[in-house]
Symmetry: C2
Subunit: 383 residues, 2 copies
């Protein structure tokens, strides 16, 4: 862990005191910065909605312990102030939140096990998800798809459950690919017990084990659902391999759709209860039927989300910090806006907006126009 120690301690504290997703706290931190926000929460001197999210645990002072425990596990806390923070993929959560979708707040920070950079693994990433009670067919197909993604240097994102999640990680590992497990519990929870060795292998072989829950947090059903938004947000598309009529994998797929990601489903025998959810996603939710790795890549490629384009497009945007991204988000392509308007819309202080606009202009993300600022035409191809 290097630098930004105060911010990291502040965010470790905030992650401990608020149960994700904590949209009011996230907005408060974005507005005040983590240090001032943590101070205000500790002092119980914060807006009512932030107070609601933090009141129950604001006295829990475990940040240093959590960081120490994580360190012993070979884990770290990645914060938005870090270079490796996956700012672009997570922006879609803000956008959905602004559209009024509940529960879409960005994480305040992420606990991460494994050596890979968190931003790098999200560059080209597909979520492969499905039922715990998978059939042999589903495990075979999930494993094959993940193996194929590995061969195309696309990261596999999934949960850590038995069934499809495990098959996906094993398939990616068999293909020497990068695979990322998002947990609904602490990275040290050892859950599910039968996957402890698999999770260790993921972290050791170039993948990541990721959670927004502090070390020691136990698994819970609502946490898996909250976690699903991160699987959907951090990947460019989600493939549901098998899902029963009620299935957490369908929740991930629905969230991916809300976030504007590609949603895909693998068909199966109509006689199999484990394919009902996939068929319903195709029939009712507009998921695209995919039968092979080629289908998955073709679909994800339609959004311009996979390698090639990203490889060349990545460098410039990676230099932008979270405030710059928010300012950029507030810019239109057509009409210009004043710095004041941009400050109001992005929530970034006006003085900082002015500085960032100049920086964005140099990097060709923004350009001046008659009535203010707009997005640069040079970057029209970016999402």
């Amino acid at each position: 862990m290097s630098g930004l120690d105060e911010e990291r301690l502040a965010r470790a504290y905030l992650l401990r005191v608020a149960e994700p997703p904590a949209p009011a706290l996230h907005a408060f931190v974005a507005d005040q910065g983590p240090l001032a926000a943590a101070k205000a929460v500790r002092a119980d001197d914060c807006p009512p909605r932030v107070r609601d999210e933090t009141a129950a645990r604001r006295d829990v002072e475990r940040a240093e312990d959590d960081l120490a425990v994580a360190d012993r596990l070979g884990a770290r806390l990645v914060i938005p102030e870090d270079d490796e923070w996956p700012a672009w993929p997570l922006l879609c959560l803000d956008q959905a939140g602004r559209r009024g979708v509940q529960g879409m707040a960005q994480p305040l920070a992420l606990w991460v096990r494994g050596d890979a950079r968190l931003d790098t693994v999200t560059e080209a990433a597909i979520a492969v998800v499905g039922s715990r009670a998978a059939t042999g067919y589903g495990e075979h197909v999930g494993g094959e798809l993940a193996y194929g993604l590995a061969g195309h240097e696309i990261s596999v994102f999934s949960g850590a459950a038995y069934g499809i999640d495990g098959a996906a990680h094993r398939g990616a590992l068999a293909g020497s690919g990068v695979t990322v497990a998002l947990l609904g519990c602490g990275v040290d929870a050892g859950y599910p017990a039968g996957h402890v060795a698999l999770l260790n292998k993921i972290a050791e072989r170039g993948g990541l084990v990721v959670s927004e829950y502090p070390p020691g947090t136990s698994p819970a059903r609502h946490r898996f659902l909250v976690r699903n938004r991160l699987i959907a947000a951090l990947s460019q598309g989600t493939v549901v391999v098998e899902a029963g009529r009620r299935s957490g994998a369908r929740n991930t797929a629905t969230t991916a759709g809300v976030l504007g990601k590609v949603v895909m489903a693998v068909p199966g025998p109509v006689t199999s209860a484990m394919s009902i959810g996939c068929h319903e996603l195709i029939q009712e939710s507009g998921a695209t039927l995919v039968t092979s790795i080629d289908d998955v890549i073709a679909q994800a490629g339609k959004l311009g989300a996979l390698p090639g384009e990203r490889a060349s497009a990545r460098r410039p945007t990676d230099r932008l910090g979270p405030d710059a991204l928010r300012v950029h988000e507030a810019l239109d392509r057509g009409q210009g806006k004043s710095a004041e308007e941009i400050a109001a819309e992005s929530g970034v202080p006006l003085v900082r907006v002015r500085a960032l606009l100049s920086a964005l202009e140099i990097d060709e993300f923004a350009q001046r126009c008659d009535n203010g600022w707009k997005r640069s035409a040079a970057r029209r191809g970016r999402r």
Copy 2:
């Protein structure tokens, strides 16, 4: 066989001399009537395109023999002049032909085995088709769907091949339903050999065995493709249960789509070569994924094509002969047309158009307006 003996003989002759589909001959017969058309073909006194279609066999005088053979088989020749001619369902072939789709001519008549009325069995009908080389899964699902259709008093239409076709007929028979086999050979060809008993059972148990090919015609690949348009036209929707990458069932589905019918496909394991065609139909051709009889009925019901509506809508239109249908087809809902314009568009002689328009007015199919005639608003709900 009762009445219309001359027309029946003429059409039996014409079916013998032209290989279906024979669009020029069909148009010629529609224009001249079967007696004059047969006379002109025999005399080699017909338009060049009709001559092209009939030159090779115009000397084959087998009409009386064909009718006698059919009679011995318990078969009959149903002609457009008969009450039981399924004029409405077949109209879509004319419409497609006018849009320039090749090979969509109506049949000149149909050889039919079985006691059911041909028009009645098409009132509520779904085609269930698929590969000869079906898997156990496909045969199970095809049989179950047909059984379910039987339970809803919906006729099953299919070919007579091994695999899905046979499973569909057996399923419908098991459900005591009406099932109709469309052949690509004569109704007496005994093809495929292993399905002779099945075809007999279909004809004996309230279903029909149907072909536009005269008795004795041998099966041929191109005839199965030509036959497919009748399966598609005579049903309100087509379900493909299993289909390989190249499959005649896909041809039927594509034709059904061209004819404006509901196209459905059953998914299966992505590891099964016999489901590739179904998945591609869903991915590339807009076929609707269906997993159950409920799905099939819901889909077909969307076009208002199945019972209920049809039951009440049927009576009036069944009284219309082919000329009246063509005149009705030529009418618009919005703008009026003169009788001359309608004659030109329908190809029905002006004097007959005038008489038919009055008849159509009485039946509320047509109404007078400022500048001539248009379709009656009272029947707006009809297709």
